[in-house]
Symmetry: C2
Subunit: 333 residues, 2 copies
DNA sequence: GTGAAAGCGCTAACAG
DNA sequence: CTGTTAGCGCTTTCAC
């Protein structure tokens, strides 16, 4: 059983006032070197740790930041969370990771609940929160992966360009019947990727609306809809999936239909999650710099919080083609 | 810009004292129905939300619980976290998910940091924390997935029996040179699984220490060591991997060596994560009831916290064989 | 039934 | 340089 010491007890033990203890604790204001040492040793002796809650109450800050993601089971988000956590931890903040299921009410509930706890700021991956909701909360916030509004700081990658590159890449490989498994309509980066795809295929006179279907950013759903698609349109020779999870779904669907990848069908995903390397064939993807995006968003938020300046920054990252077996016949296979 | 109302303002608005407001807020003590209604409408009108921090300071509770996991990138843990989150949320608690990297100091840091914030309790997946460390903290805690000490409440599955079943299953399929990719030595469930494996193979006179190697619960490491192993001992016809991530690693290694799974080599994993269904062939595994384990641990902790009774419960779940392509030649392949 | 007041543990004027 | 004191917003005796 450990007795938790308070600042008062430290003060008594050191023979000073609580104000002095507070001063040495926060390295603020003048304090004589000798008394400072005395206080320090009392702190040590009593194993005193300042009470974070009392501090929060006064300061209206908590040294906590909230990270809201739509789906913790999609490995993209744990990878992102790790990045965020690394920088928040190193700056002495505690990260609260929340799963929203892409649900507006859950997001709002988290925002409310954490604000009650004086969370210093938020990083959110959201498609349902709009500028007005965020502004309502009046708290430092940066959007990650998906932009909320031009006026709200955000970190994301160039989804449109990446999608164009992906599509172009399939073209270069000789694909002529290219399908796109797109993400949900309400998610703006899914929309961007879709647009990148159509702009390129239209440009080449290869666009066919029947070759675009919605996989809902989910493996299961994608397996279903892609199987249908491939049965109806067996001439498809390339598929650009709107994210890596769906690319895995496409791969499973192709496999079940007895299609050879990449010989019969080439597949490219988007995101660059580690999972792409666990399938067979391994999946080619447009990789986002996930870790860097996470750390950038975290730094941006902490700057915002600590300097208190109202920033309005956007950081847009470029995605990079990572070629793997799903588009390329390797010698080994 | 939203102005946050305090209990004082609500009291003034309703023409009562803060004590009365507090009473209606907490449904505690007598309060006249009429004044109660008046207070309620003032609360509504001012959009008042009680300040969680002030409340924590007084109560020494925060309605937060901490969940410490070793590796958020292993999908097993997000799945577990989702389960825990579902019950903690439904009971009005905020879950703080922490990643420890299986590192003693990070675990301790989280324990300390969150205790400063009056976190109500912890659920921990740990191999490095021992009973004395936990007791030092003197806070409700339940161990999940890995037991810490007989005296500390825990939820986990029957790793030993599951491992025996897995090994026996490979035997039944006709495997005679069975290897085991084990997890780290300091992780007790890895040890149990190893023991289950050796007990069965020894019993059959098939045990060979050269066929047991350490894959460190990681895909990458497992690919390396398994490649080595398979090159040295090409006679291996079955592999029991200590978890699903390592099973994926084994699959990759086999694939790179041109081995056919399951024809040349049968593979079985342990855990039952969704990832097993994304590979090709899909991976047979001893599935733990992940969701149920998570909810059980959460309920146990909340009971502990709310009833304040010192419990000492163990919940041991049985694992279940899920047969897939990595051990069974399906007609489709 | 309701209010006044003390206090949770800490910080920040304000004096001295 | 250091101590006194008034809160941060809430809960809870203890009177009335």
């Amino acid at each position: 059983m450990i007795v938790i010491a308070t600042i008062k007890e430290v003060a008594k033990e050191a023979g000073v006032s609580v104000a002095t203890v507070s001063r040495v604790l926060n390295n603020k204001g003048y304090v004589n070197e000798d008394t400072r040492k005395r206080v320090m040793s009392s702190i040590e002796k009593l194993n005193y740790k300042p009470n974070a809650v009392a501090r929060s109450l006064f300061k209206k800050k908590s040294k906590m930041i909230g990270l809201i993601v739509p789906d913790i089971k999609n490995p993209f988000f744990p990878e992102l969370a790790r990045a965020v956590e690394d920088v928040t931890n190193s700056e002495g903040y505690t990260l609260i990771l929340c799963n929203s299921d892409d649900d507006f009410h859950k997001e709002q509930k988290y925002l409310d609940a954490l604000k009650q706890k004086y969370v210093d700021g938020f990083i959110v991956v959201t498609s349902t929160l709009k500028a007005e909701h965020v502004e309502d909360h009046n708290i430092p916030l940066v959007a990650l992966d998906r932009s909320i509004h031009p006026e709200i700081p955000a970190v994301y990658s160039n989804n449109y360009t990446g999608a164009k590159q992906a599509t172009q890449y399939l073209l270069e490989l000789g694909c002529r019947q290219i399908a796109h498994i797109r993400g949900p309509h309400h998610i703006n980066n899914a929309e961007e990727r879709y647009k990148g795809f159509t702009d390129v295929t239209k440009d080449q006179g290869l666009y066919d609306p029947k070759l675009v279907i919605n996989g809902g950013y989910s493996i299961e759903k994608t397996i279903g809809v892609t199987s249908e698609l491939l049965k109806k349109s067996p001439e498809i020779d390339g598929i650009f999936a709107g994210n890596d999870m769906m690319a895995i779904g496409v791969l499973k669907a192709a496999e079940r239909l007895g299609l050879k990848v990449p010989e019969d069908l080439k597949i490219i995903g988007f995101d660059g999650i580690a999972l792409c390397k666990t399938t067979s064939p391994e999946i080619t993807t447009m990789a986002q710099p996930i870790y860097e995006m996470g750390t950038t968003a975290a730094r941006m938020l902490l700057d915002f919080i600590e300097k208190k300046e109202v920033i309005n920054t956007k950081q847009v990252f470029q995605v990079q083609l990572v070629e793997r077996q799903s588009t390329r016949v390797s010698l080994k296979r």
